[in-house]
Amino acid sequence: MDMNSVRLGGLQGAVKSYGPVRALDGVDLDLRSGEVLAVLGANGAGKSTAISLLLGLALPDHGRADLFGESPQAIGARRNVGVMLQQAGIPPTNTVRELLDLACSYYPQPFGVLESARMAGIDDLLDRRYGALSGGQQRRVQFALAICGRPRLVFLDEPTTGLDIDARQALWRAIRALVDAGTSVLLTTHYLEEADALANRIVVLDHGKVIAEGTPREISARVARSRIRCMSALSPELVATWPGVDSAAREGARLQVVCEVPEPIVRRLLAEDSALSGLEVTATGLAEAFLALTRADTEEAA
């Protein structure tokens, strides 16, 4: 951890239920300066609830949320913060300039309309009405609204959901530029490559609990796996009992084995089935790592 980083806010033992659903179940989360924190999780894992508490949109049932040493509901705390939510509901009949001008007015030292539009790459859209923009353009306008106040901390709730690859990478570039300029970011996403590309630290949420926390490398190393596929008559039930094998299954004629270190398993497969063919070993990606993490947790809970 960077010793110069300052704690900007976070959650302490935060619990929040909506009716019978416990959306957050005792979550601790620290936001630190100079950091891009990615909160990862499947839909319904509690990401948006965490953001709601951090922004003061909802109060925790237990535990506490704070921003810059104050309650997130204090307007002074939120003057340091920019926000991009999943659903923006921005009035379609306002122009981008009007929206940005208004959002800038909320902050003591804003970048101003032109500078924030330039940073978000929407300089050419200022006089267009919001409703006339494409989905990607609207997302960039929302990003501009989030950063226009020169915030010290920006919340981006699934910023690139629904964007095509070009638009996503353009937004990633804008986020990196913002971070280089000293802004801290809390990002929620269910795209692992997004967390991997942007974050210094990842917190994985599942069913309202933090199930893993670390750098992107630590997270993927924790659950890095290899997948072996081959044509073999060996029974998956048998292979699954071998030491070092996480799971084995049959996909049609192919046997599929997931394990941490593939070499000894491959050796044994070849030794036990001389007719084995079509051998193929692949590393599982971050996506599988993430799935493995959340699945393990679900199974424990079940």
């Binding site: 003057r79 009035p91 009007e98 208004l102 106040g149």
Partner: protein, 256 residues
């Protein structure tokens, strides 16, 4: 940038409120489903019933309807301006984003109120112009200004009712529901025709509606006969505004 404010950590709040109102007004003026009916209904009704149906220069009916359609205009602009847009803003996430942003307290509602008031003033001025110019109603400048002021200030109870409806209804249901409040209440308050032409039960029920009280104030200025003391009408309207505003505020705090 922010040279007026002594506190460097706070923005210029007056500018926030001004821009909030400006954005809201431009938004609604460019929304035809709001701007056209809200402006056109009172004006077209006045032309039909206040001018064309009055053979010759029947100043009494033209005078009565000038006052009552001004009230009708205030109802429409406020009920729809609050009800429909608040329901939409809640459903589509705009209100949530505003609450997450450091928007100064009250700016959201104040902006809507000012927006509705600008529409009401516009309707009132156009009605006065039609009454004086086409229906030959004689009106002093002071009377005209008082009429505009009463129409504009009367927005409060309808704004509060609209706000409450907006906190209870979805964006799809709100317009229909508001019409169910707006049109019957206008009729039952005698805004379309004087209450003496309506059944006694309707007359007895009239003091329940804030628009009846509002109409008495406007009719008094326009020189028609009225019932009740002005302060009672004002008190009733303020009371209705306070009740619905409290209900709506509670609902907004709890549910968002």
């Amino acid at each position: 940038m922010n040279t007026l404010s002594m506190d460097a950590s706070a923005p210029n709040l007056l500018r926030c409120y001004w821009l909030e109102a400006k954005c809201e007004f431009l938004r609604m003026v460019r929304t035809p489903s709001y701007a056209i009916p809200v402006l056109a209904f009172p004006l077209v009704f006045y032309m039909m019933f206040g001018i064309l149906m009055q053979h010759g220069h029947d100043a009494a009916a033209s005078r009565y309807l000038l006052a009552s359609y001004g009230v009708f205009g205030a109802m429409g602009a406020s009920l729809f301006g609050f009800g429909v847009s608040v329901a939409m803003d809640r459903e589509h996430g705009w209100l949530t984003l505003k609450r997450a942003q450091p928007m100064p307290p009250g700016a959201y509602l104040l902006a809507k109120l000012l927006m509705a008031m600008v529409f009401i003033a516009l309707i009132a001025l156009l009605l006065v112009a039609l009454a004086v110019g086409v229906a030959h109603v004689t009106l002093t400048v002071a009377q005209a200004m008082q009429l505009v002021a009463i129409d504009v200030l009367g927005a409060l109870p309808y704004a509060a009712i609209g706000l409450y409806i907006g906190t209870r209804m979805g964006a799809r249901g709100a317009p229909a529901f508001i019409n169910m409040v707006y049109l019957p209440m206008a009729f039952l308050s005698g805004l379309w025709m004087p209450l003496q032409f309506l059944p006694a039960a309707v007359r007895r029920l009239a003091p329940v509606w804030p628009s009846w009280h509002h109409a008495q104030l406007a009719l008094g200025v326009a020189g028609s006969t009225t019932e009740g003391a002005p302060w009672m009408h004002v008190a009733y309207m303020v009371g209705v505004a306070a009740v619905f505003f409290t209900l709506a505020a509670r609902r907004l705090r709890r549910v968002g």
